[in-house]
Amino acid sequence: MHSSMKNILALAIYAGEIMLKNGAETYRVEDTIIRICHAYNIPYVESFVTPTGIFVSVDNKNNDTEAFTFIKRIQFRSIDLNKISQVNNFSRKLATSYLSVEEGMNILKSIDTLPKYPRMLKIIGAGFASSFFGLLLGATYNDFFSSFFIALIIYIAVSFVDRLHSNLFIQNFIGGAIAALLAILSVNINLGINIDKIIISSIMILVPGVAITNAIRDYISGELLSGVARSAEAIIVAVSIAVGVGAVMNTWIYIFGGI
């Protein structure tokens, strides 16, 4: 009984870790952990999740066994909605049909190592996302092409910097700076026409839309702490993009006296 409760807790924590690492809202993570523990008939579960860590306590309400508490620190977060959806389906499946803890662990492991879309496809996706967003804003077809290529370069650069385990500020600063620099260059070589539309559409892939949406969804569910944490994250990202773009534009104006 002792070891099995520990294993169940490990399973629940692992599920929570996968979700949180890939950008799930905290209330959903708490929900999943509690649902998994209940599926294995643990009577007392309490979980507390913030964007940077998971705390779970379980107890089987016997006087002769001790309660377990686990803490899991989450350091790097990215966005992978596929894994969140898979873990969610897994926890729903647990509630309706019985799975042994080992089987569950194996399923979670296979979810955790699920491949993302190929890198090439993601790069082209970034280009698509930006350039068509530019068209929505009323960019010309010249702007369309330049923002397509700028977004490709930004995505490659940011994912390269990301692999060096840099922080949020540096990543978005570099993204913003590249966007501004290349946009100015492309207008100067007469490829692009509207400099502002090119910059706006190419920084779209960095803009913290997800962080803001998740922050709000956390606020609704009463997760005030993680709501605050995620809004702070969103503000940092927005400010660092602005600093990147602003620094480059200001320097350009200072050196060449105009754009």
Binding site: A24, E25, R28, I79, D80, L81, N82, K83, I84, S85, Q86, N88, N89, K116, Y117, L121, K122, I124, G125, A126, G127, F128, A129, S130, F132, F133, L135, L136, L137, Y155, D196, I199, I200, S201, I203, M204, I205, V207, G209, V210, I212, T213, N214, I216, R217, Y219, I220, A238, I241, A242, V245, G246, M249, N250
Partner: protein
């Protein structure tokens, strides 16, 4: 209008790939994004207010996402996050920053506050829709328990 739908559809598709959403949900999420944008453009023409338009657009995105999520048994986030992206006030943020660089603080105040309100409008739209759907499902469950 049709061209606008195609553009926003493809833009959302790009973001859907970036966010790694499940393969079978990509097209659906892109439809959500496209429809939200059309609602945004249409209400912008009607009411001449970016804030109202973003609110309505986000409402449409959230409603369709909730329906799709229940119908296709996916998490709501899978549809809402890519769907909301075309509405995010990236342009507003950029012009706010530009105003700061040019030290034009009047413009900074007007555009900045409008951008804040647009973001707030999107947020409240999602908030309202998802709390209402939760309430509806809760009341259904309460009825079931009574029986």
């Amino acid at each position: 209008m049709f061209l606008q739908f195609i553009f926003s559809f493809l833009s959302t598709l790009g973001f859907a790939i970036l966010f790694n959403i499940p393969k079978k949900a990509i097209i659906k999420a892109s439809i959500v994004g496209g429809t939200g944008w059309i609602a945004y453009v249409y209400s912008n023409e009607k009411f001449h207010s970016l804030i109202v338009a973003s609110f309505i657009g986000a409402c449409i995105v959230a409603i369709i996402s909730e329906i799709f999520a229940r119908k296709f048994k996916e998490t709501v986030t899978v549809f809402i996050i890519p769907g909301i992206i075309p509405l995010v006030p990236g342009a507003g943020m950029y012009y706010t920053m530009l105003a700061v660089i040019k030290k034009d603080f009047d413009k900074f105040a007007t555009i900045g506050s409008e951008t804040m309100f647009v973001a707030g409008g999107i947020a409240t739209a999602i908030l309202i829709v998802s709390s209402i759907t939760r309430m509806i499902f809760q009341s259904k469950e309460n009825k079931k328990q009574k029986i």
